[in-house]
């Protein structure tokens, strides 16, 4: 019987029973973590052999004769450009291969706009008074943190099943020149697992913005990260935007953080050729260039996009059962509340869980008390402000499956208790 169909007495009895279970669990002094999209040790071990792939001097020389051990090649080695251009389906000269962090490339992209402005516009954002970004919600906390840090005001936009609410996006950007961009995770969104539809991408490609320095921050973090079989096919935003001479608005990011190693992967930025030239001018001042040996390691180890896709199958063989377990436990434990919903992602690293309004922060603190780390309630919204206090992000990949089962059961228990608190108030 669902909670929504229970009598007041039945609810009280259920609550008393669950409270006992909670106390027992608490006495076990758990120390578990399902807070962030971190790779498990088993996944990290998949790529161990990459660390030994560069041995001789010859292993370090690129096809154009550059010694990766020395200075040079600001925008990446040609082999890495080819590999990642294939992955993103862009041209080699629409790409910069960077260091180990796509987040750093996103931050730097916005910091450049703050300090220098866009080439051809050249009004630094820092001098334009209040500027704003659109944030489809729920979304990725680290995107929001960049805007907050740079003093960019964030405006929530609903994330629907086929991507951001494009009517709302089009309406807002058409009339307000202070809206300078939007954050998007187009495939297997963090945290909802949403896959943007081609119609959504098409509307982004032809987006008419009042601002002439608008940035579509297209974080394709999970571009090859399907859980079950082949990765979802999607329209290519950069190519589509070219049709509408809108390619200078597109900044696409990806990395191998969840393909090879989160701490030591390779990040890439794809954008229009004009933007690439402008960015190269700036980074030639900023840095001596990214770590080319690490780029070469990736090239020699993966060989081609196919090599990457094969590795992704091995990753999903490890993590898909974890997503399945979470879904099964939610189905078994949370269906009965009649008041919870959760995403059933086909890829990516997260499950988005919606609990009754007002309950998310209660669940989070109950979980803390049990010794299970969860992404803090509110993290999926700008300024940590979830207006209905109902969304939680679940990250099932890191814990071994037996620990994940304990952690997820604990989560279900906390959700049910928080729900009953409300229903019995």
């Amino acid at each position: 019987m669902k909670y929504t169909e229970m009598t007041s007495e039945e609810l009280k009895a259920e609550k008393a029973q669950l409270k006992k279970e909670y106390e027992i669990l608490k006495s076990r002094h758990l120390d578990l973590n399902m807070a962030r999209g971190v790779l498990s040790v088993e996944q990290l071990n998949l790529t161990q052999d990459m660390l030994g792939v560069l041995k001789t001097q010859d292993d370090c020389i690129t096809e154009n004769g550059t010694d990766c051990r020395n200075y040079g090649l600001l925008d990446g080695i040609p082999e890495a450009k080819k590999l990642f251009a294939e992955m993103l389906d862009v041209d080699d000269d629409e790409l910069i291969v960077g260091g180990n962090s796509s987040l750093n490339m996103m931050y730097d992209t916005l910091a450049r706009h703050m300090i220098y402005g866009r080439d051809g516009v050249n009004k630094p954002w820092a001098t334009q008074g209040e500027i704003k970004f659109l944030c489809p919600v729920p979304g990725y906390d680290r995107h929001f943190a960049i805007c907050e840090s740079l003093g960019i005001k964030m405006i929530n936009v609903p994330l629907n099943e086929d991507g951001p609410d494009m009517d709302e996006v089009e309406r807002l950007v058409a009339s307000d020149a202070s809206i300078k961009g939007i954050w998007c995770v187009p495939k297997y969104s963090n945290p909802t697992g949403t896959v943007y539809s081609d119609e959504t991408i098409h509307r982004f490609a032809k987006l008419k913005t009042k601002a002439d320095d608008f940035c579509i921050m297209w974080d394709n973090a999970y571009i090859v990260h399907s859980l079950y079989g082949e990765s979802a096919k999607q329209m290519n935003l950069l190519k589509e935007a070219e049709k509408f001479e809108n390619e200078n608005t597109v900044y696409e990011f990806a990395s191998t953080s969840k393909i090879s190693f989160p701490g030591s992967g390779v990040a890439v930025l794809a954008t229009s050729k004009a933007n690439i030239e402008s960015i190269k001018k700036h980074i030639s001042v900023q840095t001596i260039g990214a770590d080319k040996l690490n780029q070469m390691r990736h090239v020699r180890y993966f060989g081609s996009l196919n090599g990457i896709l094969e590795q992704m199958k091995r990753h999903s063989a490890i993590i898909a059962p974890k997503f399945k377990l979470v879904d099964e436990l939610f189905e078994k434990e949370l269906s009965k509340t009649g008041l919870c919903t959760w995403s059933k992602p086909e890829g990516g690293y997260f499950v988005s869980l919606n609990v009754p309004c007002g309950c998310a922060s209660v669940v989070y603190s109950k979980m803390c008390d049990l010794g299970v780390k969860l992404t803090p309630a509110g993290a999926t919204y700008p300024y940590h402000n979830d207006p209905t206090n109902s969304n939680l992000r679940v990250a099932p990949t890191f814990p071994p499956i037996d620990e994940l089962e304990i952690a997820t059961k604990a989560l279900c228990l906390c959700v049910k208790l928080a729900t009953l608190d409300i229903l019995t108030k």
Copy 2:
């Protein structure tokens, strides 16, 4: 006989002879490079074995149990902090171990001041109108490029034999709050090889600045890079500045670019504990953290500061003969002009050559015509503007010694020709 003692006829005869030599050299179609402080292949090979030093999972785990392959440890692994704290003679918590580029850490340090301002001052430089930096000259072109890129006006300050002209520095910063910093390469300066005296460092430590967000950009790029025997001992600026509660002005940088690999080294930033805390706050938004596996590679390979110093001996065994050769050729060929001077560095990567006023750009273009790449004339001054057009930076490390001999002889020839052009005008 020196040019300055020759008759007009003798000068003309000498010039006619050298012109012939020049034409013969030109017909050889040289393709040589002494433009930048790049490591030779022989030097790169010294560190080849570092690439294979991480093999098993255990090799990737830090002493505090962090898996370097995964996310985490924003400011560096503990072992790398220890190693570089020893090298810089600072505390572990006065240090951030970063990515592969100290230049990037310098740029980011100034970019943070532009966007956020200094903690406790909090007036972003971008909002303060015109701001300025002091630049000891001749100096490092990439430092100047950062200021130029950020729109920071540069003011030349003479670099004397014991460091910047401190009377001038003290006078300027005492009264002008828009002067926000100074670039320094305190040991084996680029390009002069100058070693700042302890008296100079002491005066920096107690520097009284009108600006309350002043930055001493202390680029200790050549801290262990002596050419002959032990590296010069110097007063520690950060420690000395603490005595005058001035430690928040000190930002010290170093890297292993010229210890291990220029493209794939490890960079560090040392500053006050308060600054470290403030910077960590910002970089936690900017990045997932630097490449910890590469930090671990350096730790496992070098082991200790002693391991680094041993490696530096092997480097100097390769490059010291190159510096000796340049000096010998200059002595043999340029002494006779009576109008050239050059540095005799005890460390670092450059020789600074002063030719007669107005001649540097002439020498540079003559060298280009011969097919020998030199650092462009003017590069050692802000805005590429060498007021007397007389300074050239010579970088002897990259070419094999036989090529270096040809290139240096070519340089001497061009210098003599340019000098004779003036003397016979």
